[in-house]
């Protein structure tokens, strides 16, 4: 029913408004190609700062950039807030909830989603932190746990409420662990009756090192640092079960905890398509070095959804990769329109930074490894520069001053909780019960 609006001169459609998709849409429209960007949300999420939303450090709106603001600047770009249901390659049609949209060129950038690796209970009881709503849910939950712990007289239940388990020792897990340690300072101010030394932060990592994408020396530094600031790190440990009140490790150990945050795995968020496509690990779609889908030269795949053949070193799933792919796709589509052959994608690696927290970070710029305060500061500055929107940048900077210099947190709202019986302290809103180990 909505074809009228979108199919008049339509040429390129980009599905997904993350880093890659947003960049592709902008680059395509700059080339003068009529472009439609589709996303289920009306905003782009600045994912690297999600963990700060989860920790009450910055307000959600600051890292959510309205996709329509991009459109204002580009004459050839349209936006549709809708969910893609199916893509028909042979007819070159995209079926959304509300429309059927034809395309000449298609860019798939639907990203990834949390993968619970088949661990029983993880899906229902562990928090995922992949989007804004999930980050807000984590914030509400953590603050509710501490509220309830503050007036809980049962020692074991209080310890359960104050134990936060993070599964996964990649950048996200390390960031979260660090920021929760920082949050203890705020709890100390807000809850004079509470012994904040009871707050336990446990990081569970399956490998024998942290930050696997970075050189081992940096992972070792992160490990030492986290231990020093009080995080309990369990290396070479895997989770075998998650319940509303506990995590069980494969070693048999059971950790009593009301909060499990799962950062351990992701898989491609593949849209439903008409063809059987070749997939690589984590369900990623295999694409030619030019980012074109096999047998579908007018379909490009980028970001977390794509596995690029013959690329050495392989991509690690960070934002700059997706951004550069977005630009490359637009260039290749332009070449195709000029009847020239698309070029292979090459990733120019400017370096990697990871933040640990408590004024510490690690980084690799060219061959140089950095640890400590400098990469921490660089991480903040780089992310500030890349954050879309001048106003958001200023406000996030203000929030950082507030949290890093004044040791406070600005966002401590517990929103949207139901208060029917007790606080909804588990993801599935079940009550806290004494676990029976």
């Amino acid at each position: 029913m909505n074809q009228n609006m979108v199919n008049q001169k339509l040429r390129a459609v980009v599905v997904g408004g993350g880093f890659g998709g947003m960049q592709a849409a902008q680059s395509l429209s700059k080339m003068g190609l009529d472009t439609l960007l589709i996303d289920r949300n009306n905003y782009n999420t600045f994912v690297p700062l999600l963990y700060q939303v989860a920790a009450g450090q910055i307000e959600p709106a600051k890292i959510a950039y309205p996709l329509r603001t991009i459109i204002r600047r580009s004459k050839n770009l349209r936006f549709l807030m809708d969910e893609v249901r199916h893509i028909n390659f042979s007819d070159q049609l995209i079926e959304t909830t509300d429309a059927v949209i034809p395309y000449n060129f298609l860019v798939l950038a639907t990203g990834s989603q949390t993968r619970y690796l088949g661990v029983p209970g993880a899906d229902q009881h562990a928090f995922s932190m992949r989007n804004l709503n999930e980050a807000i849910a984590i914030r509400n939950h953590i603050l509710s746990c501490v509220e309830q712990a503050n007036c809980e007289t049962d020692e074991r239940l209080r310890q359960q409420l104050l134990t936060f388990v993070i599964v996964g020792g990649g950048a996200t897990g390390v960031e979260l662990a660090g920021t929760l340690v920082e949050l203890k300072r705020v709890f100390k101010k807000d809850y004079p009756d509470l012994d904040v030394r009871q707050v336990r932060i446990i990081l569970v990592q399956s490998h024998n090192t942290l930050l696997g994408d970075l050189p081992p020396a940096l992972g070792r530094y992160a490990l030492r640092k986290l231990i020093r600031i009080g995080v309990k790190v369990r290396l070479e440990s895997r989770v075998s079960e998650v319940t509303p009140t506990s995590v069980r490790l494969e070693s048999g150990e059971r950790i009593s905890s009301a909060t499990v945050i799962w950062t351990a795995g992701l898989e491609a968020a593949r849209p439903s398509v008409s063809d059987n496509l070749k997939t690589a690990s984590k369900g990623k779609l295999v694409v030619h070095p030019t980012l074109q889908l096999e047998h579908h030269p007018n379909v490009y795949v980028i970001g977390d959804l794509a596995y690029v053949k013959d690329l050495d070193p392989p991509l690690t799933g960070v934002a700059p990769e997706a951004l550069q792919q977005g630009v490359a796709v637009a260039r290749n589509i332009k070449r195709q329109m000029q009847c020239r052959i698309p070029k292979p994608f090459n990733y120019f690696n400017k370096g990697r930074l990871a933040i640990i927290g408590c004024y510490s970070g690690v980084g690799k710029i060219g061959p140089v490894l950095l640890t400590g305060f400098l990469p921490w500061l660089m991480w903040l500055l780089v992310h500030l520069v890349y954050l879309p929107g001048f106003r958001s940048r200023l406000l996030v900077l203000a929030s950082w001053f507030h949290s890093y210099l004044l040791g406070d947190r600005t966002v401590r709202l517990i929103l949207n909780h139901t208060h029917s019986s007790r606080l909804p302290l588990t993801k599935s809103s079940e009550n806290i019960v004494q676990d029976s180990h």
Copy 2:
């Protein structure tokens, strides 16, 4: 089970952390009395700016002040986030979801809630705007309606999506109507394909004048102003039915609309108590001029929950009244502790201001009536000054610059929507259907 924490030296308990309750708790603790503040939320909501949250003008966290921040400043003040289930006057006990709390003095400040006046469907299908969650829900809904209207080809459905009906011509209704008119400018920028002239804002008022609490001349000014900026005002009209897709008036007229916001009535949010208490209109509890509950000299009632006997002129339910009552209650409790007789409450009226929008407001300062830009500016300044938190003040000021000078809105996130079939365009998440009149 939680008595240990709270009953050691406890003397005064304040139920409700709104304007009145927050002020009472602060004043009581300043007097040196051990005080416990109970609220179901961990923040105080700055209600006068709720409508700006609903209109995407400011972020929710800016008008939500963490109640624990107050506690940091006062040694004698404790906070409990909990829901009060029942109050037993004879045993002087408060039963919450998690605890039983004894008190010597009790201040009830549980405020008010929306009253739908028995109109069929209003409860299910009309939005209320009494708290932060409700304001966010309205924001999400309005933005979703416009998103969907933007790609709706059916003329009648599009008109339904773009018709916003506000029920109630008091300050809240007038504010909302004005800010929705301002919002049209943003839609014009964001939706180049949409004819924003189709956006209809309809204000339904039962009386023959707007702003009933203010002198008639100001109500007439507000009426002329709203009509001039494009709001359709229906005076002497009452709503007889609300459906997911329409509002029916008592005149028989049916307005096709996906959005009905109900600001027309409120009633006291009375806690469950052991005694049968005397109530006045809107279910308010009748209190002596000293704000003491009849037959219960150690129980005080303030704010929207209280009807103060023999007070002339009667109170109108604005924030300064509750704030002054909070101070008065603390003074009277101190007098009681010194075995002196409590004093009657007197409201010192500094004036009234109401904002209309589009740079217009009205006001009454002493005998002087103001209309136009000056009271608009005064309204903003006064509310900025009274907003708790220095940082929030700066940020709200920044947001206002953004919206009033740049004609933009900063918060355009549609959060927490489910996208299972179509947009959740009605309060009850039912689908838009063609109404059959």
